[in-house]
């Protein structure tokens, strides 16, 4: 039994203190809500505490891991986790995004009279899961943390239980999430089965007895030795399909607009940013880790997925009038662009770091832009929360100039228009793709960006330009912007997000040495 002791000694809990702290915070938030005296009109402190706590944690994490003590690659928890600088960057990313979700959520919950504590609790749990997910080095760990995140998201999507749309989105997300995790699991099982019994399945490998067949490192060498093994290939593509669901890549993108449409605005943002980013990071881990040996097999498939995703996302978004659906589909298109970066990282001569950093930068930019867009959208008081039509934004620029400014900057950044950071990220992406000689995907990307101008600019047009004629029909919709009030804090956050996307569009020095 001493051998179990070595496993036990490998569990150094200190190394995941941010996750632990986050989970602790989540529990505190839940209990604060439990013991608050709401019936006496005393407002719950759970929201402000969650925001403050996550902000603190983020800044602490940012400085501790990225500035002062960058982590070097190491594997802990008996091979469950592998930590490194890139993982730390992603952890900071998730913390920041969760912080922003909490801010958006705070407002949203107050406006819709929903439970506060549980929302922040689930957000924080999900973030903890995401942070572990992007560090996992083992399929079991990957599965468990993925499911934790997924379960949190199922609840969050259906959070507004008064709204049938929210519930419907929840059930859709749940069904397809479960379906895709089954696919993922089947893939993992195939990999495991062949990896654990190479001789039964006619695969070449000898030293398997002492290696964990679920760990990434084992599978990397194993797959590299058996690139033509059909069951392994089937396992790989099934795992890939599970990840494709997460990032919303074709043909597993179909759930995206419906779920985005129905879920509460902050959750949509959370889904669009964190969940997708996690999917990409895991995919990156996979293609560089276990699937690193069979990239020749994966690349055509990924190329096809990327192209199809770009076209489908952009074209379907063109036909949308509902802004949330449109953003969902544009997110699909962005997933396609990012897949090109993933492919580039597989192809990169020498080291793949540049492509990875481009991916990170793109995700970061996507986050700033998405949150500013969703933030403004969350402010609108539409008759029904999920129904954001283009027409709601008619002539916003004159009604609420600063909101229009933030929104337009966000959209432009998403569209990749200079001087916003979205442009630089696209430039970097194109340059990386060119270096990796992915000409076909590059062409698809360029065409996709051009198509995307149609709907992004269509929205900007709605915001900035005066209507040709005023509504002459009697059923004049209620102006969703009339009664909007914003706290200074939200304003500051949104403006600083906008500033970030402008500043990083013009000056990338903080990232400079990474590209």
């Amino acid at each position: 039994m001493n051998s179990f002791l070595t496993f036990s000694n490998d569990n150094i809990w200190y190394e995941i203190w941010p996750e632990l702290a986050l989970v602790l915070g989540a529990v505190i938030v839940l209990s604060m809500d439990l013991f608050s005296k709401r019936e006496r009109g005393f407002p719950s402190m759970a929201g402000p505490f969650a925001i403050f706590f996550q902000g603190l944690l983020f800044s602490f994490h940012l400085f501790d891991y990225l500035a002062w003590h960058p982590t070097f690659d190491r594997t802990t928890f008996s091979g469950m986790l592998s930590q490194g600088f890139k993982g730390d960057v992603m952890r900071s990313f998730f913390l920041l995004s969760s912080f922003l979700v909490s801010i958006l959520g705070h407002r949203y919950l107050k406006a819709n009279l929903l439970r506060v504590g549980e929302f922040h609790h689930l957000t924080m749990l999900a973030t903890g899961g995401l942070m572990l997910l992007c560090q996992s080095d083992h399929f079991l760990m990957l599965f468990v943390s993925l499911e934790t995140v997924a379960l949190c998201f199922y609840s969050l999507v259906a959070y507004d239980r008064e709204s049938p749309k929210s519930l419907e989105a929840g059930i859709k997300y749940l069904v397809f999430g479960a379906l895709s995790s089954s696919l993922l699991l089947f893939g993992i099982v195939l990999l495991y089965g062949v990896g654990a019994n190479p001789e039964v399945w006619g695969a070449r490998f000898t030293g398997h007895e002492s290696m964990d067949p679920l760990s990434f490192s084992y599978l990397h060498t194993f797959l590299a030795e058996n690139p033509d093994h059909l069951l392994l290939r089937a396992g790989v593509v099934l795992v890939l399909s599970g990840m494709a669901f997460k990032i919303g890549a074709a043909p597993f993108q179909i759930w995206v607009p419906d779920v985005y449409h129905g879920s509460p605005m902050p959750v949509t943002a959370f889904l669009a940013v964190s969940s997708k980013a996690a999917g990409f990071f895991v995919l990156l881990n996979l293609v560089q880790g276990p699937f690193g040996g069979i990239s020749d097999f994966l690349l055509p498939l990924l190329g096809f997925i990327a192209t199809f995703t770009i076209f489908f996302g952009n074209l379907a978004a063109c036909a949308q009038r509902n802004v949330k659906r449109m953003l969902g589909l544009s997110g699909v298109a962005h997933a396609g662009y990012l897949l090109v970066a993933i492919m580039a990282s597989m192809l990169f001569p020498g080291d793949s770091d540049r492509a990875v950093w481009v991916l990170f930068f793109y995700l970061f930019v996507y986050m700033t832009a998405s949150f500013s867009v969703f933030g403004i959208m969350g402010l609108a008081r539409t008759s029904e929360e999920s129904e954001h039509d283009f027409s709601n934004y008619c002539n916003l620029a004159e009604k609420r100039p600063w909101m229009a400014f933030v929104l337009v900057c966000g959209i432009s950044s998403l569209a990749g228009i200079p001087p916003f950071a979205g442009f630089i990220s696209k430039v970097l992406l194109i340059s990386v793709a060119y270096e990796a000689e992915l000409y076909f995907s590059l062409a698809a990307m360029i065409i996709g960006v051009v198509i995307s101008i149609f709907y992004y600019f269509g929205w900007i047009r709605e915001i900035c330009f005066k209507p040709d004629k005023l509504h002459d029909d009697d059923s004049l919709p209620v102006d969703p912007w009339e009664t909007v009030t914003t706290s200074g804090f939200v304003k500051i956050v949104l403006i600083s997000l906008t500033m970030a996307s402008i500043v990083f569009g013009l000056w990338q020095a903080p990232f400079g040495n990474s590209f």
């Binding site: 001087p419 101008i453 047009r461 330009f465």
Partner: protein
Amino acid sequence: MNFDQIILLGSIFIPALASIVLFLEICKSDKIAKKIAYFSFGFPFISGILLFLRFDNSLEGYDFVVLFSRTGLQELNIHFHLGLNGISSPLFAMAGIVGMGAGITAIHSGVDRLRLYLALLLFMQSGLMGLFASIDLFFYYLFHEFALIPTFIMIGIWGSRDRKSIALELTIYLTLGALVSLGGLIALNVLVDAPNFDFPSLSRAVSELGMESSVQSNIFGLLLFGFGILVALFPFHTWAPRGYDAAPTSVSMLHAGVLKKFGLYGLIQIASPLLPDGAMFWSPLLLWLALGNVLFVGLVAVSQSNLKSMIGYGSVMHMGYCFLGIAVCSSLGAGSAVMLMVAHGLSVSLMFMLAHNLYTRTGTFEMDDMGGMASKTPLLACFFIAATLATIGLPGFGNFWGEFGVFLSLGEQTQHRLFLFLAALGIIISAIFGLRAVAKIFFGSASEAHSSRKKNNQISDLSFFEMIPAGIILASLLFLGLWPVVVSQRVDREIQTRFESQDRTYFSQTTPPCCPPEQESLDLNSSLPSKEKFLSNPEY
């Protein structure tokens, strides 16, 4: 940092700053806003001319160089690198002049939300100045986009009929062009991997690398069609007349006059000299497309009855000459294209301005509804005729040199003579539509619609603030026409070094122009071509 560098930076950043100040509505009164706008349009104007005059022609390459290397993209070899050379300094000055004209027109145009209008226009101006001052290709592109974005917004807000759909069409079209050319630039950056992403280091690296011609032609193709869409090359030109038709005047002026030169500038400054084999590869196709610009679009311009679209089509037509100059792949062609770009920028913006002035008087752009304006507005007529004649390439105005040079360059090779013949038909076509417009608008007697309108409000001649910008631009055109050597010597020097390799390639393929054996007996001061080429070419 010396005086020149400061005003170079100032000419880019003062409009940008002013734009931000106006945009944030720091000043609440239109009066102060106008003063700010005057200053910040005036600064690039003066500094453009000043820098043009102070340009050290004896210097090889760039003058007034400013370099900031820590932009964050230094790992991609991208630095903030500004400076002017012989090709860019006249264009820089032209941008300043046209900007001044557009600015004054805008300030006195009396649009609603004037401050926003001025802010966007100033932003555009900043981008335009930066575009021509950038040595680094990335920032060159970035500044172009800076200038492009306000175009869309301004068309959308202040445009005329169909503004929304036109703004959208324009955006998609130009984004396509911009992205394709961006792809080309990135390809160049990646393939060459020079220490800097600017012209001199790229050309140095290319000459060391010796790019394969198939690679060259691929990249050149990207750049050609990307830039071509931005410059309205023949089958991709339909956005231009529609866009100019819808855009507010100042935007039309700046876009048609200056911004559209971006692509040509890119082709002349970057694509052709760096990728001579690529240029050769695409040359036959480009010749036909450019001919399409000249003849097809020219004839379409003939059938226009709307003044503004006629000017739009006309400007697209003349872009064809620039493309022809580029397509012949010689320094003469390219240099003439530069001359034509400068002059065309001035003349077409003048045309748009005057069309706007006509519109404020008659309330229409339909030429059939005007007539006999010359008796009421002699000064406007005078300016308009001058501008028209400048556009159609009358000597005495700058355009002539460019057009004639292009024709001359087309004549160099026997296989281009057919194009010479067809392209020269353009001078007749442009005369037809230009003079028809003049005759319809200014000559004859007033049309019924017009005279009934005239009864209601008295039509006045150009006011002082309308005359000043027109006068400035016209004076520059005349200066360029009467004393071209000031510009041409700058262009010449730069273009010769750029196109050295192309001239040589071409020359080795064709028979030399006749050269009598006893050259000494002749007066060699005159323009005997190719003497230097004989010396420089080892095959002879």
